[in-house]
């Protein structure tokens, strides 16, 4: 901790020095402009901000002297800024003197690590006097040393000039060298000052540089391609060098925008120490991967969410030493921050070895706050419970501390992270600790993307939205895609995946040149937590692309997130997957396709439930909760075998008993499905599976369930209105019990 704090302090001081020297130079320039009467309206604002920043930063890192000196000048400047005072030559002189004294202290800080022991009370007195005086009475000054404490924090805005003192002809000597040895540069100053080795550059300038490099890369590509055909050794050499230099240049320029995540983390040792102290906890902070680099804009965006999570872990996660010892853990809690690159994204994990998330308590809290219904509470999985903490207005802290627990926070954390294209996930083990995993893109300007082709037009799909690629060959290409009332779907491992044909959506025409592919290429995408498949002609490659905005003429098209320039210099459009899904109506029509990733939609799931709707024969519309469905399968009739008087099929190296659902319905005795292939819903529980043979699977819907329980029919758990139609809910356990009484007996191996 001590070492960390030392390094942290050094870093903060370094930042302060760079910022302040620069600011003060600016300050001087503006002051001189004011003196010449060339001040602009914003001038006073600028100088005020400079001083305000110096004061604030110095105060934060415990440089009391600099802070208090800065404070006095700030008061004067704020009066000037608000127009309560007018500048006059003596005032400017005093302010310049004041700027010099700040510089002096900063220099001293830079060289010796101390703020210097010079006494500035005379100057401060002068500045204070100036605050109250009429511009004419510039020569009046209060007594130089009548108890003006340097470290006095609050200075009343109106300090009366306590006593007339010897006049200082300030106007005559704007910079009185005998009093302020302004930039006395000690000869032992060997190393270049920090402000000499670092400069600030406008990000816009860097963006421009990046654009130019992008162009250079394209030109390089063309030249390298061209010279590749040549036999001229000099030319080949030159083009090879150009190649290498360009790549290096590109990397360097990209790097200028990147900052190590350690810059954000640098504050944490202090925060952890302070918060732990306040709460009477002992915490050891371990940080790994501080050198992991991120784009500047992203660093800015995750700063606050990360800090919040860290505070939360200390407050809610890690227990007090006594509780830890009672639980058999070391008294000192462990908080680990870890950052690393993976798959073009940055992963940040915040781990603690605290008490973990108490699912029972979270459920109870969620119930109290009516965030979920009792019925949902009995059904949701632990993982879904963890995600409840991201709901707005949720907090389990028993008492509200000033650290956290006010019920604002985790939802904001989630929103902020998602805003920059990231995701956050939480894992927890009661008594063992909690881990928050955050995934964020490396940069917003350059993103990894998959390039696809549809009707010889190229499109880039951001990798974040990409789940998987499916290729249907031969037979499957013709039969794999089914239609539900004209809407194409594909069964992806038992889930119905709505399909969007990119060429149809975009009304792309055959140019006649592309080969007529027999295979079907499906790009499985995710938008807003829902999945859909996009059918394209060709899947090319993944590439790092530079995102460029579209002109206002095209802003109205929600399907595109921007455009990029490809290696050959041509422009390709970047798809906005959410916009495209909305345009293709896959999101508006079918409510929720996210079967595998339901946890992401807890807020919706907590009010709604997903159902698989099917036709059980005789036009009866049936539904079963999707949670009861393991997979959807299709078996040709000829696969059916019999075993022990029951229909079975061989399925995944096992024997799957089949149950004809219609046989067990009170009124469906003779409606046994004759369809071929059989549509089977695979239901798994206790490690065993059973196949429910249904008539026709029609849809997956998400509805708020209002079951009418008065229905008393065999095999029916109740009825509900789903999609405006009366739908019977299948009593799955009841049917299975009726068909195979042994199914629910645990640990019985019979296959």
């Amino acid at each position: 901790m001590a070492i960390n704090n030392e390094a942290l302090q050094q870093q903060l001081i370094k930042d302060l020095l760079i910022e302040s020297f620069e600011g003060l130079d600016h300050f001087d320039r503006e002051m001189l402009a004011l003196e010449k009467g060339e001040g602009k309206p914003e001038t006073l604002n600028i100088v005020f901000r400079v001083i305000h920043t110096i004061k604030g930063t110095a105060g934060c890192i415990g440089l009391g002297k600099i802070e208090s000196v800065a404070h006095v000048g700030e008061n004067l400047l704020s009066l000037l800024r608000d127009g309560k005072l007018k500048t006059n030559p003596p005032m400017i002189a005093a302010l310049l003197e004041y700027s010099d004294s700040l510089k002096e202290m900063l220099h001293s800080l830079e060289q010796t690590g101390q703020q210097g022991d010079k006494d500035y009370s005379l100057l401060l007195a002068k500045l204070k006097a100036l605050q109250t005086e009429e511009p004419a009475a510039e020569t009046k000054l209060p007594a130089a040393d009548s108890g003006w404490g340097l470290f006095e924090d609050e200075v009343p805005a109106a300090v009366p000039a306590s006593a007339p003192i010897p006049a200082i002809p300030a106007a005559a000597k704007p910079l009185s060298p005998e009093k302020i040895p302004l930039t006395e540069v000690p000869s032992q100053r060997a190393a270049a000052s920090v402000s000499d080795t670092a400069i600030r550059v406008d990000v816009a300038q860097l963006d421009k540089l990046m654009n130019l490099v992008g162009e250079l890369v394209l030109a390089r590509n063309q030249i390298v391609q061209f010279t590749g055909e040549s036999k001229e050794p000099t030319l080949l050499n030159a083009s090879q060098r150009l190649n290498i230099i360009t790549t290096e240049l590109q990397e360097s320029v990209m790097k200028t925008r990147m900052q190590p995540i350690g810059n954000v983390w640098a504050k944490y040792p202090r925060i952890v120490r302070d918060v732990a102290h306040e709460l009477g906890k002992e915490i050891k902070l371990i940080m790994e991967g501080q050198e992991t680099e991120l784009d500047r804009t992203i660093i800015e965006a995750i700063k606050d969410p990360l800090t919040h999570i860290v505070r939360n872990s200390i407050d809610h996660g890690i227990e007090k030493p006594e509780a830890r010892i009672a639980a058999g853990k070391p008294a000192e809690g462990l908080l680990i921050l870890r950052a690393f690159h993976e798959g073009g994204q940055v992963n940040i994990e915040i781990m603690d070895d605290g008490q973990g998330i108490n699912t029972a308590r979270v459920k109870q809290k969620a119930l109290e706050k009516s965030l979920i219904t009792p019925e949902q509470a009995s059904r949701i999985t632990d993982r879904e419970v963890f995600n409840l903490i991201f709901l707005p207005g949720f907090s389990t802290a028993d008492k509200i501390t000033n650290v956290s627990g006010r019920g604002v926070g985790m939802d904001v954390v989630k929103t902020n992270i998602e805003k920059i294209g990231g995701s956050v996930d939480v894992l927890s083990q009661l008594g063992q600790g909690t881990t928050l995993k955050i995934k964020i893109p490396l940069t917003l300007a350059i993103i990894p993307a998959l390039i696809v082709t549809s009707r010889s037009e190229r499109f880039a799909i951001p990798q974040v939205n990409l789940l998987e690629l499916v290729r249907l060959e031969g037979e499957l290409a013709r039969k794999g895609i089914e239609e539900l009332y004209g809407a194409p779907v594909y069964r992806l491992r038992g889930q119905l995946l709505p399909l969007v044909y990119l060429n149809r959506e975009f009304k792309l025409e055959h140019s006649g040149t592309e080969k007529t592919a027999t295979d079907v290429q499906i790009v499985v995408l995710q938008a807003d937590g829902r999945q859909f498949g996009m059918v394209v002609d060709e899947i090319n490659d993944t590439e790092e692309i530079v995102v460029k905005p579209l002109g206002k003429q095209l802003k109205g098209i929600s399907c595109f997130a921007g455009a990029t320039i490809m290696g050959d210099g041509r422009v390709a459009l970047i798809l906005d997957v959410l916009g495209l899904a909305q345009h293709a109506k896959v999101i508006a029509e079918v409510r929720d396709r996210s079967l595998t990733d339901k946890s992401k939609n807890v807020d919706r799931a907590s009010q709604k439930q997903s159902f698989l709707v099917f036709d059980a024969g005789q036009n009866s519309r049936m539904a079963i909760p999707l949670s009861a469905v393991a997979r959807l399968e299709e078996f040709p009739r000829k696969m059916i075998e019999r075993s022990g008087g029951q229909e079975v099929v061989q399925y995944r190296g096992d024997i799957l008993p089949l149950i004809q659902v219609s046989d067990y319905l009170a009124n469906g005795g003779n409606a046994t499905s004759t369809a071929d292939p059989l549509q089977v819903v695979v239901y798994s529980e206790l490690g065993r599976s059973v196949g429910l043979v249904v008539g026709k699977i029609s849809d997956i819907v998400e509805e708020v369930l209002t079951v009418k329980r008065d229905v008393k029919r065999e095999g029916i758990a109740g009825s509900a209105v789903i999609q405006d139609k009366v739908t019977d809910l299948l009593d799955v356990p009841g049917i299975i019990r009726a068909a195979d009484p042994t199914f629910y007996r645990p640990n019985q191996e019979n296959v």
Binding site: E215, L508, Q553, L554, F560, A563
Partner: protein, 154 residues
Amino acid sequence: MSQTSKQYCTFFVNGQFFGVEVLNVQEVLRYQQMTCVPLAPPTVQGLINLRGQIVTAIDLRRRLDLPARPDDQLPMNVVVRSDDGAISLLVDEIGDVVELNDEGFEHPPETLRGVARELIKGVYQLKDRLLLVLDTERTVNLSGGAALGNEQNN
């Protein structure tokens, strides 16, 4: 030349002679490969890569409700500056830069109809032909009724 003259970059669209103020023109390029934008307004022909900048290309023939360009004729780009960055106007052929006295500038005749009325600022009578001066800001603004050739709000 007198103080009150302006330079115009001239070009031909469907045999008609148009001009835009040279100060609004960033550059003139020959035909560039274009990427078409699905779902875009029909006047947007595509996107071109102008030294790393992505520029929207507007087909002036469609913009001005003129018959489509024959397939074998490649358009030229007149890249104009607008409030929203550079925009390329696709024209048939580039003419000279001409300097014209403001005195010769006339407002378009009342009988001018349709979208042309909105986009043509004025007319110069040259010796052998008329020069139609385009309002570049309005021409590149496809929002509202202008894109459809109806009235446009200023």
